[in-house]
Symmetry: C2
Subunit: 250 residues, 2 copies
């Protein structure tokens, strides 16, 4: 399984991903899911990937080959992030189709991506590219996208992320969201990668990779747990006087 | 959608359920999912239900008819909760099968139940009955069962529920778990029903039904949100000095 988050805020982008890949619980490996591309200097594009590892690797490889071979459309020629997302969608669908006929009925080649970054003077942004090749972006009200195991970590994003949240605060929020997910789903695991992109900077120089035993990551995971316990302990009791017998039962 | 939790602790049982039923988002109704039975005085059995409403209603109706008609096996004749769960599983499978042939390909008659209570001198307990009719119970390490939309509310249960948690504390934990779920999934909604069963009491007299605007429910939902915000604000920042350029990218 996988868990990746992309947050698109006023000040820039925050991308977070776990690194656990499994083909059944008896075949677990570490694969990063955050992918960078050596694009032209007027743009920065980063991919987060979830789903079938063969498909995601084939897609990323094709994106790189297209740049190298200077095909008509590639990550260096597109003028908009949305154009990049559509191009990615086409390649993803093509790669998924290649092996469908050879597969058993349980074979699932599908993959989901988040493409994020900035091209030239265009605003920064993030797109979620579905296995079908179509895509969505963020909104002011919902400034984040998730792929993979999204439910455990969603409540904390809904509570804290606003369009004007600072990049570092959003980064902490994503790490807490990742913590909730890692506690409940053993197939999501460290190292946790975190990338902060400052609007209009066109550099990707603020990247963190937190290993399982990283001091900071351990500290905020522990602190968050302790703080939640404290908060929980202060909640008022419901009053037994408000209770009654369960209806329909003698 | 639905969200129900059953917690089986040293001191007794805590059952919680939402009340929203929908057949598409344009057809939303209120249906309680906590069902009581007028069993013999040596036992108390409560059902929580999720899934196809026609199936759950047919199953509950059959359980009541069997008691009234004094069939060989019914909720009054079984000697163990596990026996009751197996009997429930058989009826559930039978009711699901009835309409499968008549259904369209998208028709899904499946239903999932939690059966909880106490029979005579046997220990109290809770069983999750799958659509296939098989069942599981709780353990010391995982003293709870969930049906329906289980992921949003799971992290808080994993953090706070222990086998020796008090019944009222577990009740608050379930309400917080329900809050996280209602925030993230609009098809889970109030009123929230809560039943506390004290071990060996054989009475179901501590039942709460919290409406959407219930003062206590609003208060702890709000307090929890505020406390989480406070806790989040105190988390230490990661240090920019620990960052580096994203590998693989120039």
């Amino acid at each position: 399984m996988t868990y990746c988050i992309a947050v698109s805020l006023k000040d820039g982008l925050v991308l977070t991903s776990d690194s656990r890949t499994n083909a059944g619980i008896d075949n677990v490996s570490i694969y990063g899911k955050m992918h960078a591309f050596c694009t032209a200097s007027d743009r920065k594009i980063v991919l987060l990937s979830a789903g079938n590892l063969a498909t995601t690797q084939a897609v990323i490889d094709q994106l790189k080959r297209d740049m190298k071979e200077e095909t008509a459309v590639n990550l260096d020629t597109v003028n908009y992030l949305s154009e990049a997302a559509e191009y990615l969608g086409r390649i993803s669908v093509e790669k998924q189709r290649r092996h469908v006929d050879a597969g058993q009925s349980s074979f699932n080649p599908s993959a989901t991506f988040i493409l994020a970054g900035q091209i030239g003077q265009e605003p920064h942004g993030a797109y979620l590219v579905y296995p079908e090749g179509n895509c969505i972006t963020t909104s002011r009200q919902t400034p984040y996208l998730q792929i993979g195991e999204n439910k455990y970590g969603k409540p904390v994003l809904d509570r804290f992320l606003k369009i004007d949240t600072s990049l570092h605060e959003a980064g902490r929020c994503c790490l807490i969201s990742m913590d909730s997910t890692m506690r409940s789903n053993a197939s999501v695991g460290a190292p946790v990668e975190l990338l902060i992109y400052h609007r209009d900077s066109l550099v990707l120089d603020e990247y963190y990779c937190f290993q399982e035993d990283n001091e900071y990551l351990s500290k905020i995971r522990k602190m968050w747990h302790e703080k939640l316990k404290e908060a929980f302990a202060t909640l008022p009791q419901f009053s037994k006087e408000d209770s009654r017998p369960l209806p329909g039962c003698i």
